[in-house]
């Protein structure tokens, strides 16, 4: 069976799985380093119980979905898709609670994307028309939701002046684009550029919260462009951009719907 012959749900599922898999592979070294550091420098605090501080829990929750991801990418059967959908969601939930990873937005995005995978795996293959009519909206709703969460917290004076992004990325960050800007511009010009960039981020994220009202094709294209823009301008955000792009592409594949496999 060729790629085009597969049901749209299967193609959407595989594309989203591939996006999350790519992010996981890109960040595997960082997470192994994190697990080793957690073992070497444990932090005992007032909040996290013993189990949510364990390096083995961190490493297992991060690495274990690789097996189900690979299985789906090699041969996406209904059983493999269901097992993977559940496992990727559970592992993201664990990583959202672990002391060394709870703050990474990656797992917020992957957790919700995982729920979309669960819905596709259990609902989709037997009901191609239902998936075509409902899947695109679910994907767009998730994208709106993520951008709303990012935008609302930036409706502040500091983000309008660009101070947080300047301090976090442009003032000292190692990313090549930021280093080049520091070398090319004087201090005042760089701050002015970052202020306008930060305003553009606030306005774009706020506008993207309306993705759920757009046609499927436009929503998908805009999301991919904005996610690539975030990744390109700030560097290091591929862990959020990739799953987001995966959801956007999955929504579009579902919207295009029926083919011989359906």
């Amino acid at each position: 069976m060729t790629w085009r012959d597969r049901p749209a749900v299967t193609r959407a599922f595989v594309v989203l799985t591939a996006a999350i898999f790519t992010a996981r592979v890109l960040f595997a070294r960082q997470y192994m380093l994190a697990a080793a550091t957690v073992a070497a420098v444990p932090v005992q605090d007032h909040f996290f119980p013993w189990v949510l501080r364990q390096p083995l829990v961190l490493a297992t929750a991060f690495l274990a979905p690789l097996a189900t991801e690979l299985a789906v990418l090699l041969r996406p059967t209904a059983g493999r898709m269901r097992r993977h959908a559940v496992w990727v969601t559970v592992s993201a939930a664990i990583l959202l609670l672990h002391q060394a990873s709870y703050f990474f937005a990656t797992w917020v995005v992957v957790f919700w994307a995982g729920l979309l995978l669960v819905w596709m795996a259990y609902r989709g293959p037997g009901d191609a028309e239902g998936a075509r009519r409902q899947g695109p909206f679910l994907a767009q709703l998730l994208i709106s939701f993520w951008f709303l969460g990012g935008a609302a917290g930036k409706w502040t004076a500091a983000y309008w002046t660009g101070a947080p992004l300047y301090d976090l990325f442009f003032a000292r960050g190692p990313y090549a684009l930021h280093a080049w800007l520091r070398a090319s511009l004087d201090g005042d010009s760089l701050r002015l550029l970052v202020a306008w960039f930060s305003r553009a981020v606030v306005v774009t994220e706020s506008a993207m919260a309306c993705t759920l009202l757009m046609p499927a094709r436009m929503a998908s294209i805009l999301t991919v462009v904005v996610a690539l823009g975030m990744w390109g301008c700030l560097g290091g955000l591929s862990d959020i951009a990739l799953p987001m792009i995966g959801v956007a592409l999955a929504g579009r594949i579902l919207a295009e719907g029926a083919n011989p496999g359906d």
């Binding site: 937005a105 695109p136 992004l165 301090d167």
Partner: protein
């Protein structure tokens, strides 16, 4: 081609899909929490305290962890001298992207803080639309000089 939102509503009016509707309901509940931020002082304070891991019971915090809050609020942190302690060789202060407590548990910050003379105090300050929450934690060496122990410092 009709809008996906229209297709979704029509499909569910004809034959409700409990899985899809449950997902939509969860997103709407969390979106309501996000939209309450600019409107409610209580919501703002709770959100800022969530970032500083203060006054939140673990179970309630777990329920809200799927809430997207990337690069939210104006969060600053600073490592200051603890009574009886010394200053870090290089000053540590600046903005934090979101969950500010991450500065104590991120793997690279664990290593950097461990090089500071301990005990030390870490001060967090988060602000959003006129609401400010500040928390101070005491940082000291763990048992047998292994790792670190973090304890909240009571407000004066």
């Amino acid at each position: 081609m009709r809008l996906p939102i229209v297709e979704f509503i029509e499909a569910n009016v004809r034959r409700p899909d409990r899985g899809a509707l449950a997902l939509v309901a969860a997103i709407l509940v969390f979106s309501g929490c996000i939209l309450s931020l600019p409107l409610s002082e209580t919501a703002r304070r709770a959100a800022l305290e969530r970032f500083q891991l203060t006054r939140w019971p673990l179970a309630a915090w777990m329920v809200f962890q799927p809430l997207p809050s990337m690069y939210n609020f104006e969060n600053r942190w600073e490592v200051v001298r603890a009574p009886g302690g010394d200053l870090c060789p290089t000053p540590i202060e600046g903005f934090v992207n979101h969950h500010v407590y991450n500065r104590l548990v991120l793997f690279d910050w664990r290593l950097r803080l461990r090089r500071c003379p301990l005990p030390a105090r870490v001060h967090f300050r988060s602000t959003y639309l006129g609401t400010t929450v500040e928390t101070t934690y005491r940082l000291e060496s763990g048992p047998d000089d292994h790792g670190m122990v973090v304890t909240p410092v009571a407000s004066p």
